[in-house]
C-alpha cells in the first residue's frame, strides 16, 4: 500500500533530477583538489560511467511501476533480506542528508555570514526542508523547475561576465595527471553527484505513467551534468593553477567579476542559487528518508516522522565532522566506499533478480 498519494509527471521528474544534480555544484570542489585542470574530463567520464547504473535505477522503477524503494526491495529480496537492504538505504539517506545540510552551513559560515552560530543555520534550514517535505512530493515536483531555472540562469549569466578573465590555455596540457588520480576523481564524481540519484528510486514510485521515463530522466541527468561541466570549465579557465588552494572555486571565480562599477560583488547570487539547489537536494533526500522509513514500519502517513527526523538530522549534521577539512577528507576517502554497493551493485542486482524471477508478480486480490 503506497503511502504517497500524489502523482508527479515525467516532465516534473526531469526537472527534479536536473535540480538534484545541479545541487552538487559545490561538491565538485572536492574533486578539483585531486584532478586540477582535468576536472572537466573527469566529469564527462564520470557521466559515462554512471550512465548504465542510472539506467538501471530507471529500469527498476519502470518495471515496478508505482512502487517505491522499500516495496521493491521486499519483492526482490524477500521479506527479511529486503528489509535489511532497505535499512541500508535508509542509513545512507540519513547520513548523506546530514552531510548536505552541513554543507549549507559550511557555505554560509565560510563565505557569506561568518559570525552566525552554526547550529542556528542548520536548524532553520532543516526546518524549512521539513516544511517543504510535509507538503508532499507533488508540491516539490511542481516547484522544481523554478529551481532549475534559477540555477541555469546564474550559471549562464556569470559565464560571459568572466569571459575576459578566462585563459583557455589553462586546460593544457591534457592528460597530465597520473591515472590513479583520474580514477579517484572519476570515482568521486560518479558517486557524489551522479550516484546519489539512487534516491530517486524512492520517488519514481509516484510517477503517474512510466511511458517516456527513460528519455525524460536521462535528459534531466544530462542537464544537470551539463551545468556541472560548464561550472567546472569556467572555474578552470578563470582560476587556472590557483584552483587547488581555494576552499570553494565557484565563489572565488564569481568574486573576480568586476565590470564597470555595477556588475561587481555578485557572489551572493551564487550563494542564493547554491542554497536553493541544495535545498532541493536536501528536500528530496528528506522525503525519500521519511517515506522509506514510514513504509518500512508500515505507517499510514509519513507526516509524523518528519519532525523527529529533522531533529535527528540537525544533531548529526552539527556533530559529525569537526571542520570542513574533515568533511572533505572523509567524503573523498571513506564516503565513496560505503556508497559503492548501494549505488552500483544493489540496483543492478535487483534488476537481474527481478528479470530472472519474472517479477513483479501481482497476486490476485492485492492492490498496488
Amino acid at each position: 500500500m503506497n503511502i504517497e498519494k500524489g502523482k508527479i509527471t515525467g516532465q516534473q521528474l526531469l526537472f527534479l533530477i536536473a535540480g538534484f544534480v545541479q545541487g552538487s555544484v559545490l561538491l565538485i570542489d572536492f574533486t578539483v583538489g585531486i584532478t586540477e585542470h582535468q576536472t572537466w574530463m573527469v566529469i564527462l567520464v564520470g557521466l559515462a560511467v554512471s550512465t548504465p547504473f542510472f539506467l538501471s535505477y530507471v529500469m527498476l522503477a519502470k518495471r515496478f511501476a508505482g512502487m517505491n524503494l522499500v516495496q521493491i526491495n521486499d519483492m526482490v529480496y524477500g521479506r527479511f533480506l529486503g528489509k535489511v537492504v532497505s535499512l541500508y538505504y535508509i542509513f545512507f539517506f540519513l547520513l548523506t542528508l546530514s552531510f548536505n545540510i552541513r554543507d549549507v552551513g559550511e557555505l554560509y559560515i565560510t563565505f557569506l555570514m561568518p559570525d552566525t552560530p552554526f547550529v542556528l543555520l542548520l536548524v532553520v534550514f532543516t526546518a524549512t526542508c521539513a516544511y517543504a517535505v510535509s507538503k508532499g512530493i507533488e508540491v516539490l515536483a511542481r516547484v522544481s523547475h523554478l529551481f532549475v531555472f534559477i540555477g541555469i540562469f546564474v550559471i549562464i549569466s556569470t559565464f560571459p561576465l568572466l569571459l575576459d578573465q578566462m585563459d583557455f590555455s589553462n586546460f593544457l596540457p591534457f592528460f597530465e595527471l597520473p591515472f590513479g588520480k583520474i580514477f579517484q576523481g572519476v570515482h568521486i564524481v560518479s558517486s557524489v553527484p551522479f550516484g546519489e540519484t539512487v534516491v530517486f528510486l524512492a520517488i519514481m514510485g509516484s510517477l503517474n505513467n512510466t511511458e517516456h521515463v527513460i528519455k525524460r530522466t536521462y535528459s534531466g541527468l544530462l542537464i544537470g551534468a551539463a551545468t556541472l561541466l560548464i561550472v567546472a570549465v569556467r572555474n578552470i579557465a578563470v582560476l587556472g593553477k590557483t584552483q587547488t588552494i581555494w576552499t570553494s572555486m565557484s565563489f572565488q571565480s564569481i568574486r573576480l567579476i568586476d565590470i564597470g562599477t555595477i556588475l561587481t560583488r555578485l557572489d551572493f547570487l551564487v550563494g542564493i542559487a547554491q542554497t536553493v539547489l541544495i535545498f532541493l537536494k536536501c528536500s528530496l533526500f528528506f522525503y525519500a528518508l521519511a517515506v522509506s522509513l514510514s513504509q518500512l514500519f508500515g505507517l499510514k502517513s509519513y507526516l509524523p516522522l518528519i519532525l523527529p527526523l529533522a531533529g535527528i538530522e540537525v544533531v548529526i549534521a552539527a556533530t559529525v565532522f569537526q571542520s570542513p577539512v574533515d568533511h572533505a577528507m572523509i567524503t573523498q576517502n571513506a564516503g565513496i566506499i560505503y556508497s559503492i554497493p548501494l549505488m552500483f551493485v544493489i540496483p543492478l542486482l535487483s534488476l537481474l533478480i527481478a528479470k530472472i524471477r519474472g517479477l513483479p508478480k501481482f497476486e490476485r486480490g492485492k492492490g498496488t
Binding site: 542556528l120 596540457p173 587556472g240 593553477k241 590557483t242 588552494i245 573576480l256
Partner: protein, 393 residues
C-alpha cells in the same frame, strides 16, 4: 491542513522567535560600526621580525544626511598604524586604536614596502588570500620606499589615496608602462614553479609641498623575494610578448632625420609559440600592431607610402628592442617573467617534467625569434602638416 496546522504553526513561530532572540542578533554589524578599509600597507618595523601595518580607513563626515564635505582641508580618511608579528595579529591590534574590527571587503589595494618585498612576501601574503573578507580582485603593489608614506599622500582629484592608486593602476592601458596585478594573479604566479611574480611599483614624488603618487614600472620577484625591477620600456617589452599592450606612444625619428614622428598604438596582438628542438628552447614571437600618426615634429609630409613604410619599420625595430631589453633584464635577474616555462609545459607536457627542475639554468639559454608587423592605419585629422618644408608636397 488548515485547521490541523493552527496550533503547531503557532508553536513553531513561538519557538523560532525564542531561538532567534535568545541567541542574540548574530552576525550583523551595523554600517556605522564598520571600519571600512580601502587600502592596506605593509612595512617592516624597526625591531626585527615585526611588521608595521597601515590601514586606510574611511572617515564618515559628521554632517550626516547632506553629504557635503566640511571643507577642502578635511581628510575623508585616516591612516592607522599597528605592529605585530603577523598580518592577522597586526590587524587585530588595530582595534586598540579604532574600537571596531576592520572591514576589509572593500579594500582596493595592498601595498608592500620595499623592505618587506626584498625579504620575501611568501610569509605575508597568506592572510590576504585566506581571509574571507578579502577579495581576489584587490590590487597588489610594491612601494619604492615605505608603504606608509604612499598611504599618506592625499591626492587632488580623489578622496582617498588607495582609490587614487587603484585608478592609476587601471590606467595602465594608456601607456602600457605598467601592468595591473591582482591578488589572484600574484598567487597564481607564486604557485607556479617557473613563472616570476610581478607587481607594479608605486612611489611618492615630492613636488614643492604637494606629494604626488606615481605608479610606473614593475617589480620582479623570484619565489616571493623581490630581486629587481623593470623600467617603463622593459615593462612594455614584456607586455608586447604577453599581448597585453592596449595603447601607448612610440616615437620614431622621421624618415628625413630632421625630427620625429609620434605614433599612437591602437592595438597589438601577440602569438608565442614555444619550440623544443634537441634540447634547444626557441620561442617564436609574432607581434602584430596597429598604429596611428598622432604628432610629428618635422615639417616633412609623412602621409606617403614610403614614409609610412619607413615609420613602420622603425617602430617594429623599437618594439624588438624593447622586447630584447626586457628579455635581457630577465636573464640578468634569472626570472621567467614571460611565463615561457609555463608555455613549454602546456605544449610539451611530457618533456617538461625533466626540464622544470633545471629551469633556472635553462632559462638564460632560451632563444627568441621575434617577428613584428606594424601597420599605420590612420593619421587623425591632418593629412599634411600645417607648416611644411619647401619641396615637401
Amino acid at each position: 491542513m488548515g485547521n490541523k496546522m493552527n496550533l503547531p504553526i503557532m508553536k513553531l513561530i513561538l519557538w523560532f522567535f525564542m531561538l532567534f532572540t535568545l541567541s542574540g542578533c548574530f552576525g550583523g554589524r551595523e554600517i556605522n560600526d564598520l571600519e571600512i578599509v580601502i587600502g592596506i600597507g605593509v612595512d617592516k618595523n624597526e625591531s626585527a621580525g615585526n611588521i608595521l601595518l597601515t590601514a586606510q580607513i574611511v572617515k564618515e563626515n559628521e554632517t550626516g544626511g547632506t553629504g557635503k564635505d566640511g571643507g577642502g582641508e578635511d581628510k575623508a580618511f585616516w591612516n592607522v598604524n599597528s605592529t605585530g608579528n603577523s598580518i592577522f595579529e597586526a590587524v587585530r591590534q588595530i582595534t586598540h586604536k579604532t574600537g571596531n574590527r576592520l572591514f576589509i571587503s572593500h579594500n582596493q589595494a595592498v601595498i608592500f614596502g620595499k623592505d618587506i618585498a626584498s625579504e620575501g612576501l611568501e610569509k605575508y601574503i597568506d592572510f590576504f588570500l585566506r581571509a574571507h573578507e578579502m577579495r581576489p580582485t584587490a590590487l597588489i603593489l610594491i612601494a619604492e620606499d615605505r608603504a606608509s608614506d604612499v598611504m599618506d599622500a592625499k591626492p587632488e582629484t580623489e578622496k582617498f589615496p588607495a582609490v587614487n592608486i587603484e585608478k592609476l593602476v587601471e590606467s595602465y592601458a594608456f601607456t602600457s608602462h605598467l601592468y595591473k596585478v591582482n591578488m589572484k594573479d600574484f598567487a597564481s604566479c607564486m604557485m607556479s614553479d617557473t613563472k616570476a611574480p610581478m607587481a607594479p611599483l608605486v612611489s611618492v614624488m615630492q613636488d614643492k609641498e604637494n606629494k604626488d603618487i606615481y605608479v610606473s614600472g614593475l617589480a620582479v620577484f623570484k619565489k616571493g623575494r623581490m630581486v629587481g625591477k623593470l623600467n617603463e620600456d622593459e615593462v612594455r617589452g614584456l607586455l608586447w610578448v604577453l599581448g597585453k599592450v592596449k595603447s601607448g606612444v612610440i616615437t620614431v625619428s622621421s624618415p628625413n632625420e630632421q625630427g620625429s614622428a609620434v605614433l599612437e598604438i591602437l592595438s597589438a596582438k601577440s602569438k608565442v609559440t614555444p619550440e623544443l628542438k634537441d634540447k634547444r628552447i626557441v620561442m617564436h614571437i609574432k607581434i602584430k600592431e596597429e598604429l596611428s600618426l598622432s604628432e610629428q615634429t618635422t615639417t616633412e609630409n609623412l602621409a606617403t607610402d614610403s614614409a609610412f613604410e619607413r615609420m613602420q619599420k622603425a617602430s617594429a625595430e623599437i618594439i624588438r628592442q624593447e622586447i630584447l631589453a626586457a628579455f635581457d633584464k630577465s636573464k640578468e635577474l634569472n626570472a621567467d617573467i614571460f611565463g615561457f616555462g609555463e608555455m613549454l609545459h602546456k605544449k610539451y607536457g611530457n618533456e617538461w617534467k625533466a626540464l622544470k627542475d633545471n629551469w633556472d639554468d635553462l632559462y638564460p639559454s632560451v632563444e627568441l625569434k621575434i617577428d613584428v608587423e606594424s601597420k599605420i592605419i590612420k593619421t587623425d585629422l591632418l593629412k599634411k602638416p600645417a607648416w611644411q618644408s619647401e619641396g615637401g608636397k
